[in-house]
Symmetry: C3
Subunit: 200 residues, 3 copies
């Protein structure tokens, strides 16, 4: 214990209640089963075929589109709170802490070592209560390597987040965004025209 004259911490993590503010979504035995599957087929360096990974994710409740590419050593917390759009990519060592739903759009790319962090705590509460949030990486967006995306964030359609950026607020569509905090810097596309009609 600190001496009487030292200001003491106000935090009381021993009063933290992990059952509040978090719906784990599945019974414990399902979670345990997923953890096992994850350890063998996802966290491992072995390049398991995509159809096995897709099948497992779907069996555990994820929505997985066609043409999805999941690299080795990817950490997915709750597959039943995950949606991977058609032709989306998950790079090596991507970490998806989806306490709340995470949606990766179609043609979206999440690069190596990206951390999509849907977990948070209310630091103004001594009990450190959960303050988790969903994350949306919209269609065509690209999250550059080693970037961090926090809870509650939506990265807009076709937005680009440069490598190592720290994203804590929503990002608009079609912009290249950078920095800590990550902010829009310039348009992604050379011209501002909308895509031709009929383009998916």
């Amino acid at each position: 214990m600190p001496p009487e004259t030292t200001p003491a911490t106000r935090v009381r993590i021993d009063t933290f209640d992990a059952s509040k503010g978090l719906d784990r979504g599945r019974p414990g035995w399902v979670e345990a089963l997923w953890y096992l599957a994850k350890s063998v087929f996802f966290l491992s360096a072995l390049p398991w075929p995509q159809f096995i990974k897709h099948g497992l994710l779907r069996a555990f409740g994820a929505r997985v589109g066609t043409g999805v590419n999941i690299k080795p050593r990817v950490n997915i917390h709750f597959p039943w709170k995950l949606e991977l759009g058609d032709w989306s990519w998950l790079g090596e060592e991507a970490f998806i802490l989806n306490f709340e739903p995470v949606r990766i759009g179609r043609h979206a790319c999440v690069s190596q070592r990206v951390f999509l962090c849907g977990g948070n705590h209310d630091y103004r509460r001594p009990d450190f209560a959960f303050r988790n949030g969903p994350i949306t990486i919209d269609d065509g967006a690209w999250i550059g390597a080693q970037a961090f995306v926090g809870p509650g964030v939506t990265v807009g359609i076709d937005a680009v987040v440069t490598a190592g950026s720290i994203v804590t607020r929503n990002l608009p569509p079609g912009m290249v965004c950078s920095g800590n905090p990550c902010v829009p810097v310039k348009p992604r596309w050379p011209d501002p025209e909308p895509p031709a009609p009929g383009q998916p």
Copy 2:
């Protein structure tokens, strides 16, 4: 070899002496044994029960309080130079390179992918000599995900370091701190009052 006209490097890593400026603290066989235990019980993705991890850390000289929560895939270099206060947390993939003592205070939280880096080199010396330093994460402090904390740093009581921050200097108590370099931004608590007497 570079041509004569190219300025040559002044660095001579071949003259680096790993035995200077670093007290490994235990004989080689103990270190080897710890490395083995670490590989199986800490670096692994398997969620070993906390009592096994606590027991191992204590057996190797760490001070581990009650209620400590150590997630999987945590990398601890020297347990005999580690102190984990009551109700402290170590998140997934936290990396504690404690060449010098690292103290995590009571009710302190070290989030996912945080790197507490007690190792350093004197870059002004061609022999790249060690310039390691201790790290203190004081009671109630929260180091956000993916943050880096350098050698010699003390993060004050109840300070909050936002995700992805790079901490190279001491941070005052009770402040939310952010950025690279990480600096205090605003108070953590809504009111400036000290906690009630008797609060632990």
Copy 3:
């Protein structure tokens, strides 16, 4: 599919052609063999002897100098596109995504969790075409822990990149560099004199 009124993504990752803009350099079976060797001897936490790692890297086409120190859990993509100079270091969890050649100079240090990322995509092209680039960490340079170095970058002789920096442009020799984006901040050496003649 998004409603008609929503602007659609212009990205078409399904048209991405992985065979364009990337010369994998070796037939698939060699790559598979390397992947196996990498998983066992490099990604693993086990501290395999240096001579085994050096021998493997050389067998797969890397140029490895004398006195090179490769720590555990290092991820090297294509050894046949890697050059490690005499007395260079690769820290734990260093990730070398060398789609194009990566050269680490003599007496250069790549610290823990550094990401040398030679991979990139042209985000202005809907097909997300490769836009990879080589990386040079010149003699005596030090890339601090958790830093990111992007494609096409040369870090000059004896430059120091501080921990957590994001390097997307060339850095001059002999300077301490920092930040996101990483820029030169101050000279590394106390005096501007060249090293004594005869120094390697």
